[in-house]
């Protein structure tokens, strides 16, 4: 099957956040009590109950009082996914046939290594210590439907389809290169940026942390020498990243 992806076009995004609501509705994620802290952006960060959110980025502008950008933040569904690389629990994180990085909470052992393995700070852990994040509405796309966010987006700022043909189409509207085209084996969520990624608050060259590569290549195979997954995970977490600290996991 051709790899599927989402293309995010901040130029088309009007910041209405229909995507945030649609995601919660489809995935039945509860709302949380928030406070107004002086910004439209809310909740302030991704949570186990918030798979995607719009970041409101204000940057100086010559022509206008400000340049106001609306950027969708969520799992990028990397081809070379750091979370999957480091995950010691087989099947907890997995790739769907469409190319989405999905999860199975029953198999998650709560080690949180995926948090360290993610270059985009995406995975969150729920109250039962299970992984939680955007799975590209894997239960929708497997039935040939667009993810809820793309379905509801009024302007086409989030679009869904075959990765290659969509890339071609978007490039045809005046983009030389899409963000995430080649990074990490090619992201499953591509961005049509008019300016440098950092303007939108994104890493120019996202990469899996060195330690994860080390873990994947050297340490993970060791784990199979008879040590139980969870024990191995905490041991190896210590070896690779040092002791767990409070606040490390958001």
């Amino acid at each position: 099957m051709a790899r599927k992806s989402l293309i995010i076009s901040p130029e088309l995004c009007i910041g209405c956040r229909g995507c945030q609501t649609a995601c919660k509705e489809w995935n039945q994620l509860s709302g949380v009590k928030t406070k107004n802290t002086g910004t439209v952006e809310n909740p302030p960060d991704l949570t186990p109950n918030l798979y995607n959110k719009i970041r409101y980025v204000e940057i100086p502008s010559d022509a206008n009082p400000v340049r106001w950008l609306f950027v969708s933040q969520r799992c990028m569904h990397c081809d070379d996914a750091g979370c999957m690389k480091i995950c010691p629990a087989p099947g907890a994180l997995f790739k769907t046939k469409e190319g989405a990085v999905a999860f199975n909470k029953d198999k998650c052992i709560g080690c949180k290594l995926c948090v360290a393995g993610c270059p985009f700070d995406v995975p969150r852990y729920d109250e039962k210590d299970k992984v939680s994040k955007c799975h590209m509405c894997s239960d929708r796309i497997s039935e040939g439907l667009a993810p809820a966010c793309a379905k509801v987006c009024p302007t086409g700022a989030i679009s869904y389809g075959d990765r290659d043909s969509m890339m071609g189409k978007t490039k045809g509207t005046g983009y030389q290169k899409l963000y995430g085209e080649a990074d990490l084996g090619g992201l499953g969520v591509l961005y049509a940026f008019k300016d440098a990624p950092k303007v939108y608050g994104m890493e120019e060259h996202p990469a899996i942390p060195e330690a994860v590569v080390f873990w994947h290549k050297v340490l993970k195979p060791l784990a199979y020498w008879g040590i139980g997954g969870a024990v191995a995970a905490s041991l190896l977490h210590y070896i690779a990243f040092g002791p767990k600290k409070d606040g490390e996991v958001k």
Binding site: S30, P43, P154
Partner: protein
């Protein structure tokens, strides 16, 4: 909308002013983006840099309440630089008409038009008239040179709106004005089209109607009316506001924009004489000349066989206004506040949060003996008796809550802003005891009628004679199952008799007794047809002797990629997707822009039935079948709803002047109107009273609840209210919804960095915003999105806050309360829509 949502994609330039489309009408931006993809320019003019402004090619800030100055400057720019579409202006507008030489404008009369009666706060419009020739037609000067012609008077009027003057009023930088004017006026060419999208940002002012008229004049000057990608487009605030307005929700209009008579209009003959416009010009269609057919058919629809020729079709049973009575929102609540009402139905609304001067509204509710609150949820209105600073022991009002079904729990039509009626189906059964509105009304009707039958009462005839044929009835007359299709059919209308075209030889049958009417063209003034709303005639009609719900159609065929989709739903009038479309062609019926041809005269058109040549129009349903205007015998003018068939650059119909003139808001930051000696609109109703050179309020001359403070040091900042994408209206639907609430949890006020620095306010601080009427707390958004304005040489700060919050939900009170606690009791001179978009406040750290 003169056009429709999808049509926005056909524009070359889109001006969004008086609307925050991205936040309040997100779907509109789909079409804005499509237009931009093809190279269109988006201009956004707004006091605040909104999510809409974030998408603009040109953003222009302006101080709230100064739109006429901004647009008046554009009119001057268009005229000075000869950017208008001359052929269109000369032939399709009243630019060439000669005006009464005694007419004088605000430039000559210190801000007033001729005929002002200071005591009555009203104009005698005698001089706002045209010179009439011996045939009874307006005298014209097609060269547009006569100093008394509309064109020259307009030029004179707007000569005062210089860039510097406009900039000093609006606070918009001079170069921004030029940039906007230049971009928008580029659509004055036949092959360029501009559209305008507005909403409450234009209507909710004491000059609201004139804001929109100013834009209509610009669209006429640039030849943008009637074209695909053009028009003046109201984005309605709810999915079915258009439908409710069409069906007579306002106090002064019956369904189909038929005027509500006053008591002095004693019978149907007087009604028809008074409200049927006349013309002596054979080239003018004067569609409202059909008024007698529509009112008679309406009376037949509501009173059925009880309405006969002998009893004037039951005209006497129609509710009448007292002469000069105004039943608009502000007046209703003022009367309620004064204890003039016993009872009140709050149906699908939350006036305790949505009403201007909501504090007064809440006090007014306490004067009622009873109130019925029909809503999906309890709200601040239904529970006003336990609201902030209210002791339930002091309240005698008995409140009934009737739970209503939501839009997905009932069947029926909705009419969107583009006049498109679409049928919706019931997805789920209503929850609990909730019922669709129609069933609630059905229950009420049955019980009220029973009471009248038993007890008589003051005037039982209007209720007892009402038709109510919406389903099979029990022996006692109660409907067993309410059928909403029967309502839709009644609205469409029926032939009550066999109908013949008697002009044809032999007479041709046009309608069969008992059949649904084909469209309003066949309606009659003699009682042989019924129609609940002539505009909707044709929405539920007959095909092969079977009833067809046209609103339920879902055909996807388009006309030349223009997005008209004539087989999707049904659009009033007669499925015309773009109204005034006869102005989209030249005098010979050729489209001004062939690439965007809405209609086109086809001399070789084939009649599909007879296969013979029958010249006619291709494309959209034209504004009347008559041949193009150049046809000496049968040609017609394009603006068929005007008695003279012309677009009105000079508009004597409004209360406050034939040309829009800048006046300040009732509460404004300047001592004097920089444009004239007349500070505020001289024809608005003042609830509090004014006096003196600067229209300052007099203590005690009205209710304290209506107090206002203009140019007063206690309330130094301009304020405006708005909605946010995340909440719906007063938030009754969305504050119960944690997904929406987490995104927009609390009342906020947006203030500039400059003002925040002056007041020692930091981003995220809790502040108090107060006006002469009340106060609310809010979280400060200290932002670049508001900038101080340079107005008449001084710095003016503006702030803005939403009105979607209320004290009742969330239950812990963490959201705050409605911004309408701050807004004033004053309305537009023509419509009385409240001025909630420009008033004065103070902001202090809480």
């Amino acid at each position: 909308m003169t056009n429709h949502w999808i049509d926005i994609k056909n524009a070359d330039v889109i001006l969004i002013m008086g609307s925050n489309a991205a936040e309040n009408h997100p779907i509109s931006m789909k079409w804005v983006m499509k237009a931009r993809e093809k190279g269109a320019k988006l201009i956004v003019a707004d006091p605040r840099f909104t999510r809409t402004a974030a998408k603009a090619d040109i953003y222009a800030p302006l101080r709230s309440g100064t739109d006429i100055a901004f647009l008046g400057g554009m009119i001057k720019y268009i005229l000075d630089n000869r950017l208008y579409f001359r052929e269109y202006v000369v032939n399709y507008t009243n630019a060439a008409y000669l005006v009464n030489p005694e007419f004088k404008g605000p430039g000559e009369l210190k801000g007033l038009f001729s005929g002002y009666d200071k005591k009555a706060r009203k104009y005698d419009k005698k001089t706002w008239s045209f010179q009439i020739d011996e045939k009874g037609l307006p005298k014209k000067d097609p060269s547009l040179k006569d100093p008394n012609c509309v064109f020259q008077l307009m030029r004179k009027h707007y000569s005062r709106y210089t860039l510097d003057k406009v900039s000093s009023i609006t606070g918009t930088p001079r170069e921004k004005l030029i940039e906007v004017y230049n971009a928008y006026a580029s659509t004055g060419k036949p092959n360029r089209v501009g559209t305008e999208l507005y909403a409450m940002g234009w209507t909710q002012h004491t000059v609201g109607t004139q804001n929109i008229r100013a834009m209509s004049m610009i669209q006429l000057l640039l030849g943008n009316m009637g074209l695909a990608g053009g028009g003046v487009n109201a984005l309605r605030g709810e999915s079915n506001v258009q439908g409710s307005t069409d069906h007579g929700i306002l106090f002064h209009i019956l369904p189909g924009y038929l005027p509500v008579p006053s008591a002095t209009v004693v019978d149907l003959k007087t009604y028809n004489e008074k409200f049927t416009p006349k013309t002596k010009d054979p080239k003018s269609v004067n569609w409202w000349g059909n008024r007698p057919k529509y009112i008679t058919s309406y009376l037949k629809a509501i009173y059925g066989s009880n309405a006969t020729k002998e009893n004037d079709f039951g005209y006497a049973w129609l509710p009448k206004l007292d002469e000069g009575q105004n039943g608009s929102w502000l007046v209703l609540f003022d009367q309620m506040f004064k204890g003039k009402f016993e009872g009140f139905f709050a149906w699908g609304q939350n006036p305790a949060c949505s009403g201007a001067n909501a504090g007064k509204v809440r006090k007014a509710l306490a004067k009622l003996k009873w109130m019925v609150n029909v809503n999906l949820f309890d709200n601040e209105t239904g529970s006003f008796w336990k609201g902030p600073d209210v002791n339930p022991k002091d309240i005698q009002t008995e409140v009934f809550q009737l739970p209503a079904a939501s839009s997905v729990e009932k069947e029926g039509s909705i009419t969107n802003s583009g006049r498109l009626a679409q049928w919706r189906y019931k997805a789920i059964e209503p929850i609990g005891q909730s019922k669709p509105d129609s069933e609630i009304m059905n229950e009420l009707y049955f019980r009220v009628k029973k009471l009248y039958q038993k007890q008589g009462g003051k005037f039982p005839a209007p209720v007892l004679n009402l038709t109510w044929n919406y389903g099979a009835k029990r022996p006692d007359g109660k409907i067993i199952k309410f059928d909403i299709h029967k309502v839709a059919k009644e609205i469409n209308g029926y032939y009550l008799d066999d109908l013949f075209d008697k002009k044809a030889v032999p007479p041709k049958q046009i309608g069969k007794k008992g059949h649904l009417a084909t469209n309003f063209v066949t309606l009659q003034a003699d009682g042989t047809t019924s129609c609940g709303n002539w505009l909707y005639s044709g929405s539920y009609t007959m095909k092969d002797s079977k009833a067809v719900n046209m609103m339920a159609r879902r055909g996807k065929k388009d006309i030349r990629g223009l997005g008209m989709y004539p087989e999707w739903g049904w659009c009033w009038p007669v499925n015309r997707r773009i109204i005034y479309n006869r102005a989209s062609v030249d005098l010979n019926g050729k489209p001004w822009d062939p690439k965007r041809a809405v209609i086109r005269w086809n001399p070789n058109k084939l009649d599909p039935k007879t296969k013979k040549t029958a010249p006619g129009w291709d494309g959209d349903v034209p504004d009347g079948p008559a041949p193009p205007m150049a046809d000496a015998k049968a040609g017609k003018y394009p603006f068929i709803m005007r008695a003279d068939g012309m677009g009105s650059l000079f508009g004597p119909g409004l209360a406050d002047g034939p040309f829009p003139e800048h006046y300040e808001a009732l509460e404004c930051p300047v001592q004097e109107n920089p444009m004239s000696k007349q500070r505020i609109n001289p024809t608005i109703k003042l609830f509090y009273g004014v006096t003196g050179a600067h229209d300052m309020p007099v203590q005690g001359s009205g209710s304290e609840a209506d107090i206002f403070f203009s140019c007063d040091i206690r309330y130094p900042y301009v304020a405006t209210t708005y909605r946010v994408s995340e909440h719906w209206q007063t938030g009754v639907l969305t504050r119960h919804e944690s997904w929406q609430l987490e995104m927009m949890p609390q009342q906020f006020v947006e203030i500039s960095k400059e003002l925040a620095a002056e007041k020692g306010i930091k981003n995220g601080d809790k502040v108090t915003v107060s006006s002469g009427r009340g106060k609310v707390w809010a979280i400060a958004f200290v932002t670049e999105r508001f900038k101080p304005f340079k107005v008449a040489g001084s710095t003016v700060h503006q702030v803005g806050l939403p009105w979607c919050f209320g004290w009742q939900y969330p239950e812990d009170g963490s959201s705050g309360d409605s911004a309408n606690l701050l807004t004033p009791t004053v309305g537009d001179a023509n419509t009385m829509i409240p001025e909630t978009k420009a008033f004065m406040v103070n902001v202090e750290k809480a």
